[in-house]
């Protein structure tokens, strides 16, 4: 009984498929083994037979059992050491003709574990067991296993690895050299671009330094939370900023007053806006700063599309490379390079970031008519329309549900008069958007109708109406056609051949009808199916097929609940009935279990495997925990191989080709010869 239990335990342990043994079972095993040497004999034999299995997971577990017992029992040690050659062959792969079985990762693990274990055995038991010592020396001196090497690789493996590394290093070196060269070449460009960008920014926004230190400016702090990167932006804004502030802080009467009195003119070319959100600088392009802005745009484009990717590429080349170079000298060089590259990249990114923060209004050139004023938050939100018309006739405004043609000033605002004045002032300034807008208003003619109006019902109908090809019937629609449907047969013009009298004019009712009526086939629009079949499947999920009416597998599509049961009672009944019928159709002698029993008794194949394929699947696999070795072979490549290298197919093909050749050319002796 003990022995049976032992075999069972060993089998369970080895076929668990886990990288670690189940400690409870191991304990039980040891407990039984402790009883007598006979038990150990038995365990030893079962472990060895498991070690012989062609599956790395089984071997790994068996090896773990063996190493557990090895440290415990002298008898087990003697047995194992007596057969140490075989043991090494099965675990350390000493015989190259007997490679470790798949799966590969487990085999590798088994190998390294075995090598480590043999080493530890050698240190603790080597002096007492001679063959163990011999085996250790064999591994060390003949197989050249490096016990220090964590991977426990043999010489050839190591050499291969080195070769590969050398190759990679060569590639990296070439790549780094190319990058360095490129870097040297384009460094000047990048530097120039950066400097240019910086000076552009300085021009646009005095003291908006790229490398400005975050200076905390408490003076004009307007209760705006400054982001870290913008802390330095506070300083330069001084007056312009103040000027602009009024736009956002509507109620701040005193502020605007200061601004009013403090400013010389609104026709100041640069308009920097800070939104109340407090994080956006706004630079607007005007005629004055246009060249600067355009240069800046150009620079931005160059930096973001060319320089930054290049620098990023160099940075990427470097880290993969450095660790393969052991020499400290080269290392330091490359380190300095790395630091330099990092700085370069940082400055490039900083430049881009500043550019982003500036929010240069580059669009103004192209779409300056799109903005009536920079204070557009004064307007109520108007939904985006295609075909925005800048001018709405006054008499139509009411009809369109819009406000009276007041200039964009909220009447509620207390500072409306000031605003009005300012707007007028703006309009006088030819560079301001307001002025452009005014010019546009005058230039663009008034359109006939507007699509911005609310949807007109008739128009809506028209939009939905189908478009049909134009025909003659439409041309004469509603008119009586004099000779519709008449076919004229011309009399023969021949001189002496005269055909029998024919009616010259034939009236064809069909043609007549055709010219008076019109068939319009209107299939409607395609509406994609949004529901799915949702019938319960064998694997617990729901059928995902999206058929319109009927699923080819589950019949009519009916509404179903979460579990896939039909919602309606009659559907449910119908389905149950169907199920019952299906079950009845299968005669009970085709019951899978019964058939299998009969098959086992008679030895004849009744086809139980075909009938109950689904049910048998689980049973067929003896050890479900072990990874399936055959599964890995089921790749697209192997499947293709099966097809392409199919012996029958290829030979048939060759025969066919031969026969065709023979049929065609057999009468020509030079072809017939071969």
């Amino acid at each position: 009984m003990d022995w049976e239990r032992l075999s069972q335990l060993v089998e369970e342990l080895t076929t668990s498929g886990h990288p670690q043994l189940n400690q409870d079972k191991v304990k039980e095993l040891k407990k039984i083994c402790k009883a007598s040497n006979d038990c150990i004999d038995h365990v030893y034999h079962s472990v060895m037979s498991q070690l012989n299995q062609e599956h790395a997971e089984i071997r790994l577990s068996a090896f773990q059992i063996a190493s557990d017992l090895f440290s415990r029992s002298h008898h087990f040690r003697t047995l194992l050491v007596d057969n140490f050659q075989e043991f090494l062959e099965l675990t350390v792969e000493t015989d190259s003709e007997q490679p470790l079985p798949p799966p590969k990762e487990v085999a590798r693990k088994l190998r390294s574990l075995a090598v480590q274990t043999v080493q530890s055995w050698h240190t603790s038991y080597g002096s007492a067991y001679k063959k163990l010592e011999l085996g250790y020396h064999f591994l060390k001196q003949v197989k050249k296993v490096d016990f220090q090497d964590a991977e426990a690789r043999t010489v050839t493996e190591r050499r291969r690895e080195e070769e590969r590394q050398r190759k990679m290093e060569r590639i990296y070196k070439a790549r780094v050299e190319a990058a360095t060269k490129e870097m040297e070449e384009s460094y000047q460009d990048i530097e120039a671009a950066l400097t240019e960008m910086e000076s552009c920014m300085k021009l646009l926004f005095p003291e908006f330094g790229l490398a400005g230190s975050p200076a905390d400016n408490s003076g004009p702090s307007d209760g705006q939370p400054d982001k870290g990167c913008q802390a330095d932006d506070d300083e330069p804004c001084c007056k312009e900023r103040k000027e602009d502030e009024e736009g956002r802080t509507k109620s701040d009467e005193e502020d605007s007053f200061i601004r009013n009195s403090g400013l010389i003119s609104h026709t100041y070319s640069l308009d920097v806006s800070l939104s109340p959100g407090g994080s956006v600088l706004h630079v607007k392009e005007t005629e004055d700063n246009e060249p600067v802005v355009s240069t800046m745009m150009e620079l931005h484009r160059v930096i973001s599309s060319k320089h930054l990717p290049a620098v990023q590429g160099w940075v990427q080349v470097r880290p993969t490379h450095t660790h393969t170079r052991p020499s400290p000298h080269t290392h330091s060089i490359h380190n300095s390079q790395a630091v330099f590259l990092g700085l370069l990249m940082k400055s490039l990114e900083a430049a881009l970031q500043k550019h982003r923060e500036l929010h240069i209004d580059c669009k103004t050139r192209a779409t300056s008519d799109g903005e009536e004023d920079d204070d557009n938050d004064e307007f109520e939100e108007v939904p985006e329309k295609e075909g925005y018309e800048p001018h709405i006739p006054e008499h139509l405004r009411a009809e369109y549900g819009q406000r009276p043609p007041a200039p964009p000033l909220p009447s509620s605002s207390s500072s409306s008069s000031r605003r009005m004045r300012r707007l007028l002032e703006d309009e006088q300034d030819p560079t301001s958007a307001a002025a452009t807008l005014r010019v546009l208003r005058q230039q663009i003619p008034l359109p006939e109708s507007s699509s911005t109006t609310g949807p007109d019902p008739s128009q809506q109908n028209a939009a939905e109406a189908p478009v049909v090809p134009f025909g003659l019937d439409l041309y004469y629609w509603g008119q009586e056609q004099p000779n519709a449907g008449k076919i004229l047969k011309s009399a023969s013009q021949h001189q002496f051949w005269v055909p029998a009298e024919v009616e010259e004019e034939v009236e064809n009712q069909d043609l007549l009808a055709q010219s008076k009526s019109r068939y319009i086939s209107f299939p409607g629009n395609f509406v994609p199916v949004s529901h799915s079949c949702r019938a319960p499947l064998g694997n617990g999920t729901l059928c995902q097929r999206q058929d319109r009416v009927k699923c080819p597998f589950h019949g009519l599509i009916v509404p179903r609940d979460q579990e896939g049961r039909p919602c309606r009672e009659e559907d449910r009944q119908r389905e149950e009935q169907e199920e019952r019928r299906k079950r009845e159709q299968q005669p009970d002698w085709r019951d899978v279990d019964l058939m299998r029993d009969i098959e086992a008794a008679t030895g004849e194949d009744l086809g139980s495997s075909r009938v109950g394929g689904k049910n048998r699947k689980g049973k067929k696999k003896k050890y479900p925990n072990l990874s399936d070795l055959k599964q890995s072979s089921n790749t697209s490549r192997s499947r293709l191989e099966r097809k392409v290298f199919n012996k029958y197919d290829s030979s048939a093909l060759a025969n066919k080709a031969d026969r065709r050749k023979h049929d065609k050319f057999s009468n020509q002796f030079n072809y017939a010869l071969n």
């Binding site: 040891k30 402790k34 415990r72 007596d82 038991y125 001679k130 011999l134 003949v142």
Partner: protein, 401 residues
């Protein structure tokens, strides 16, 4: 044992009987013993070993790296544990070392002052043991597979040399020249052996599956060719010639009395022949794994009552009873193919060398004192054993209970 002793005391028995019985017992108890080690000198496989016949004290070994080592086998320390030390070595640094693998080494049968080695570098060298310089070197056209000096010859000092050339060369130590050629084989000669009974009788084994027996006084041809079918042509009518094996014959060994000859071949067979008549004794040894392309050195025990054959078989050494063909035991200890083994007739020890570079000594287990039947005698033995070495103790942890 006691019976033999008392019979010996009473003089009823031949002294030889006790000796035979004891040596047989010792051979049967051969085991890989931790008490006996041989220093590891060879970095590569060991192809050949030879124990001198005079004192039985020095052992020559030739390795695949061309190195030749002389070991001292005698244990003078008085302790059980003994490691055989190399006394002299022809190492790689020596000027005279063989360039390629040494295939055969042999002591001069009458004196340990001289030994002969042959190698795949197409030379055979006669060495002076004192100076470790070659006194004579013979050069051949092909690789030298094997050579042999007659162990009993008094009237000649010929070395038979088997090379890649099918002709067997006879070199005379007296003149230092090749004096004779024996023709008869058609493929390379893998093994040559002088009979230990008649000084002019020579056996040669070749890759053409033939074993020829020569009398070197007769130059015209071989005395006879061993035939595995004993002349029953009906069985092998297709074969025109007598063959000893169905593959290459790569091992030859006379029994110590010279009456029988053993051959091994790559057909995984070993055959025992009557050396006088050339008849196949048809002893069935079963399968003796043998895939060596070179010479296989095996040996026969001496002075046991059924004689034993020690023959390399894969990575182990098989021990057969000579005349019954019964497999006695397999000595497993090498981790790669075993190439050579040599029996020490004085101490009933076996030395074996293999491709794994190990030289293993198989030593009879010392008989433990017969313990009188005591209630727990077993435990005492175990206790004494574990007292010797803590590694023999069982180490069950208490949590398994």
């Amino acid at each position: 044992m006691l019976g033999f002793l008392s019979a010996r005391q009473a003089g009823v028995d031949d002294p030889l009987r006790l000796r035979r019985a004891e040596s047989t017992r010792r051979v049967l108890s051969l085991k890989l013993n931790p008490d006996r080690d041989v220093d590891r000198i060879h970095g590569n496989g060991i192809n050949t070993i030879d124990i001198d016949a005079i004192e039985g004290r020095y052992m020559l070994s030739g390795g695949a790296d061309g190195v030749i080592v002389i070991y001292d086998l005698e244990n003078h320390s008085g302790k059980q544990q003994y490691t055989c030390r190399p006394v002299r070595t022809v190492g790689r640094s020596s000027r005279h070392v063989h360039k390629f693998s040494v295939e055969t080494v042999q002591w001069y049968p009458y004196d340990t002052g001289m030994f002969v080695s042959s190698s795949f570098d197409k030379t055979m060298k006669v060495w002076d043991t004192e100076t470790l310089k070659p006194a004579e070197a013979f050069e051949f056209e092909g690789n030298v597979y094997s050579h042999h000096l007659s162990p009993i010859a008094r009237k000649h000092s010929l070395i038979a040399v088997g090379t890649k050339n099918p002709k067997i060369q006879l070199c005379d130590l007296k003149s230092g020249s090749r004096i004779h050629v024996l023709q008869g084989h058609r493929a390379e000669v893998l093994a040559v052996r002088w009979s230990p009974r008649y000084e002019n009788i020579l056996a040669t084994a070749s890759a053409d599956s033939k074993v020829n027996i020569w009398d070197v006084r007769r130059a015209s041809g071989s005395l006879f060719t061993l035939d595995q079918h004993n002349g029953e042509k009906s069985k092998a009518s297709s074969q025109a010639e007598n063959t000893a094996h169905n593959g290459r014959v790569n091992g030859l060994c006379f029994t110590s009395d010279g009456l029988y000859l053993l051959t091994t071949g790559t057909d995984d067979r070993m055959r025992l022949w009557n050396s006088a008549t050339g008849a196949n004794t048809l002893v069935n040894y079963g399968k003796v794994c043998n895939e060596s392309r070179k010479r296989l050195q095996f040996s026969v025990s001496h002075g046991c009552s059924p004689e034993f054959v020690f023959v390399p078989c894969g990575s182990s050494v098989a021990v057969y009873a000579l005349h019954t063909g019964e497999l006695i035991t397999m000595l497993r200890g090498h981790y790669n193919n075993v190439d050579c083994c040599e029996f020490h007739p004085d101490y009933q020890e076996l030395y074996s060398g293999g491709k794994d570079g190990n030289l293993l000594a198989w030593v009879p287990v010392v008989r433990t004192a017969d313990v009188e039947e005591e209630p727990n005698g077993e435990n005492k033995v175990a206790a004494s054993l574990s007292a010797v070495n803590p590694a023999f103790q069982d180490n069950w942890s208490s949590d398994e209970d």
